[in-house]
Amino acid sequence: MIHEVYINGTGCISAQETFDRNWFFGKIRNPEKNFLPVNEDLFKNAIPANVSRRMSKMVRMGVASAMSAMKDSGIEKLNAIVAGTGNGCFEDSLKFLKSLVENDEKLLSPATFIQSTHNTVAAQIALLLKCNEYNFTYVHRGFSFESALEDAVLQIEENKNNNILVGGIDEIPVAYLELIESAGWLKKEINAENYFSDISDGMMAGEGSAFFLLSGIKSPSTYAQVRNIKTIYNPPDAAELQLAVKKFLSDSQLSLSEIDGVILGLSGDVQSDAKIKFLTGNFFENNLQLSFKNFFGESPIAVSFAFWMAANMIRKKEIPRALCLNDTVIKEPRTILICNQYRDKNYSLILLSKC
């Protein structure tokens, strides 16, 4: 259980219009194919052109959403920057690899190699802000954002005056899509109207970046409170997952009925979703159930979009109908649980509440 960690700013770039603070699932963009790319027009003015020209899409998304979260919070001086990314700067990595292959390891330009390291986004944010403080990047698949969040919470528990910028970033360049498509990760066809009714293998890939300003001090811009986080590695079956959720709730001193909504990390892939699906019928059956990957796609840091959603639901006191998977009626969302999975190996629980 965590004491007094507040979300005081958010910035989110995704396949939907999340960069616009007034947008909250009014106009929803449906996928045409099995991936949901970010439209760069939605945030093209957020970074000066002379700066953004030298950046990859990954870095542009990360920097723009980070700056947006800072602006939202009104904080200018950070005590730490903590990022999470599952795949890192994939596009630049593969560009460098391709040129290495095509030129037989001769006369290579270092530009893409320089930008290929996994900590490039956190480093570029520090560089732009001239921030000499603590700077970490977590790169563990479906735990990348969660680990960054856990680190940010530790920093605040050490000193509640700390202002920590924490976020997740992942991109889906063509080179990545080709690989995961050939590996059978993607759905063949998408039923956009009723995404979860199609029980086939494969998911729909997503990309984007969500950053948050966390602090131990409440402010006028506070969205919600982070109450608890837990990662669960490779649970053997649904029963084990259910036990972990029960323990998480009791550690958080909450009963299941006090949860106003549970945001589920269903990806559409029938195999990866099986354990959470089981919980929807056997554990969460009386709770309001919500989905998000049908709007944002699947990625190692997709959970950061659920975190953004939960924070906004609590602040706006609104549950967009489009997110709901069942008819449970809730007056006001005060306590939201995120129950995520990534490729049926990385499970996580995040609890947010009104403060």
């Binding site: 460098f96 190699f113 390291t117 956190a122 921030c131 700077n135 970490f136 977590y138 563990h140």
Partner: protein, 397 residues
Amino acid sequence: MPQKVFVTGMGIISAIGNNTSQNLKSLLETVPGISDIEILETVHKKKFKAGEIKYSNRQLAELANCNAENFTRTALLGMIAAKEAANHAKIKDFSDDKMGFISSTTVAGMCLTELKYPDFLHSKINGSFIELNDCGDSTECIADFLGIKNNITTISTACSSSANAIMHASRLIRMGKLNRAIAGGTDVLSKFTLNGFHSLQILDENWCRPFDENRKGLNLGEGAAYLVLESEEEINKNVKKVICEIKGCGNANDAYHQTASSPEGTGAFLAMQAAIQTAGIKPEEINYINAHGTGTSNNDLTEGVALKKIFGKNIPAFSSTKSYTGHTLAAAGAVEAVFSILALNNGMVIPNLNFSDPVSELGIVPEKKITRQDLKYVLSNSFGFGGNCSSLIFGKV
């Protein structure tokens, strides 16, 4: 009350040995492991030397006692080193929910991707090697190999990665979130990094010469190293033998350039300062510094500037052990943590090889031959791309 954090086990595989005792022997005999490239398939085989571990993946799998087919070289090295660390600490219950595994890598599965991708570019089929490409793969392989079930994560901050893994694990224990953790990193030689550093023109074709006026660049290396960290409470409960204490940690960002470090050595200075502050000691109490010392023109100059800022005229004995192992990238912080602890517990200052003339702007001279003296505190530096600077301080118990 913050918990004190102690090291109770360590494991390493590098170009100078498959385990801790072999690495110690090579250090005591000042035998470097940098040689012509034999295992990595590259057009630069004759051109560059490297700190290469002279085992094929199949031979590494035999050392680890597992099936070579299922693992990248990155995972195999990590499994060997982490297993040694766990055995050393005599860990019995790996599935304990207050035990963690914090690993790190930069190359990750690129060592496999670079072999498979050329065919994929033409055929666009069989891209399933993507499943092993990311940084989390080796961490999960090592965790599964040892049976670690909880609190697993991976850090990648370029060449300071495993120093940061040790720092994060220490913080988790200090704050009572975990009782015990294995922390470190693994990285292997790859065409990707060899060509990357070559494209930046920072590879020396001969043996690297850290802190020398005529240094030409670094030699790449490969390796893995892990420490077992435990809380004071856990040690008292199990009457454990303690190797040393994690006394201080500091991370700062240079915020100057994506790859180059600032002329003032701001990040390096701040990281060392933070480590010394958290250790609660005075700079003059540090007896030996295991420097980052890559042998590049830029790093050694700015690290030297930062050392002078912290220690003034009385810089403690220092050396770069990259002249033995090459630069093992993400693993370097943990490899050098093991060397720092060996120095501490064996009362030896490890010499810096291939040094002849001091850098004219600095006038500082690293240790040139092995000296035996009582050490109380050892500082280890690790700096990486993206301005990431980390310092760890190990204290004798």
